[in-house]
Amino acid sequence: MTFPPTPSQTVGPFFHIGIDSFIGPELVAPDRPDAVRVFGTVRDGEGMPVIDALIEVWQANAAGRYAHPEDMREHVPLEEGFDGFGRTCTDDEGRYEFLTVKPGSVPGPGGRPQAPHIDVSVFARGLLKRLVTRVYFPDEVDANEADPLLASIEDLDARAGLVAVEDDGGLRFDINLQGDRETTFFAV
């Protein structure tokens, strides 16, 4: 017997009161040499900044291991203090920012390697269900070329849009919920 799931609902405009500081935007310490700033602006279909979005990221560590019991690849080291999850809210200009490290490659369908990537969830007022996208890295040209998910996207602009852009010493990944430059979102 299967149980039907509980439906999703919007986080609404007031989720900030429920966001505890114990999960924050810094996945690594700021003084870590390989720390990278991933940032961007969230906009709606009219190009207006979305000032009340909640952004979450989930990723493997720099070696490519997830801090989760189902990642049982013991030859890939776990990292003390790195849980791979971050959460933040957009500011009054629609901007978000995380401090993290580039994850290592993890296996994909059929054991083919996936290019380094971060899974991203977007929640907001007006989103009855989260939107999911992925951030890929611009310095991984060959790995991105061979990535099974990226390769499955026929629209080359959409494919390129999932790769962050080097900007201001960090990596910029803007999120457009709707419109001509709409971000590629995935059904999970």
């Binding site: 299967t2 149980f3 039907p4 799931p5 509980t6 439906p7 999703s8 609902q9 986080v11 609404g12 405009p13 007031f14 989720f15 900030h16 009161i17 429920g18 505890d20 114990f22 999960i23 709606d44 207006m48 009340d52 989930w58 493997a60 997830y66 989760h68 019991p69 189902e70 990642d71 049982m72 849980d83 791979g84 993890v106 296996p107 994909g108 369908p109 059929g110 054991g111 996936q114 990537h117 899974d119 907001a124 007022r125 007006g126 989103l127 009855l128 269900k129 989260r130 939107l131 999911v132 998910l149 919920l177 709707q178 709409e182 971000t183 590629t184 979102f185 995935f186 059904a187 999970v188």
Partner: protein, 241 residues
């Protein structure tokens, strides 16, 4: 205990056929969806290791009183004290253990402790409106709080949100992340609340409504409501090692 997650070389993913319970992104009656819903079809994301794993937050991250929204200040909040409890289950009805449950809500007057909330109802100096806890071995969670008030919003003329508590859950994987809202039985505002009604099937809406639970009331002290949450199920039952 680790679960076996490979079937041959492929991972066991999460069911996709049951996501129809979720509302569509575009629900024009809820005005904010008109400019915030994507127009292009979503692309299928295969469930790789990235999606069958997810953040793990256990009991070590939650304080002893984090589940009690009535004991976060010097005094007690005004309003009808309630116990809000239930179980978190997976799609096969098994308990989801040791998973973080977060809640946030308006106070008993229908006002959020939030700068953006301009509803001219009083703030309560003894109520923040946020709590969290971790499920036990049976998947149970329990909060003590006050019943939130209904509040007006600008969606349409004389629009009021049905009273609700926001509930956020992680479950075992990135794929099981869920944010929903828990409603109260018999609310007269359901008919005009486009967020509640964005869920297409009335039977699915019913599962967002808590049940009055006489057994869990505490005489002379608090009423109780039960709200069970079901997270997405797995494609095939994983084998226990």
């Amino acid at each position: 205990m680790a679960q076996r997650v490979t079937r041959g070389v492929e991972l066991v993913g999460y069911r996709r056929d049951d996501v129809e319970v979720d509302p569509p992104y575009l629900h024009p009656d809820y005005v904010a969806t008109r400019t915030r819903s994507p127009k292009r079809p979503l692309l299928l994301l295969p469930h790789t290791l990235s999606e069958v794993t997810g953040p793990v937050y256990g009991h070590d991250r939650v304080g002893e009183l984090d589940h009690d929204l009535t004991r976060q200040h010097d005094g007690e909040p005004l309003g009808e004290r309630i116990i809000l409890h239930g179980r978190v289950l997976d799609g096969d009805g098994r308990p989801v253990r040791n998973t973080l449950v977060e809640v946030w809500q308006a106070n008993s007057a229908g006002r959020y402790l939030h700068a953006v909330d301009r509803h001219p109802a009083p703030l309560d100096p003894n109520f923040t409106g946020a709590g969290r806890c971790v499920t036990d071995d049976e998947g149970r969670y329990r909060f003590v709080t006050v019943k939130p008030g209904a509040y007006p919003w600008g969606n349409h003329p004389n629009a009021w949100r049905a009273a609700h508590v926001h509930v956020s859950l992680f479950g075992p994987a990135f794929a099981t992340r869920l944010v929903t809202q828990m409603y109260f039985p018999g609310d007269p505002l359901f008919f005009q609340d486009p967020i509640f009604n964005s869920v297409r099937d009335p039977k699915d809406r019913e599962r967002m409504i808590s049940a009055f639970d006489l057994d869990q009331t505490v005489p002379e002290w608090a009423l109780a409501y039960r709200f069970d949450v079901v997270l997405r199920g797995r494609e095939a039952t994983p084998m226990e090692d």
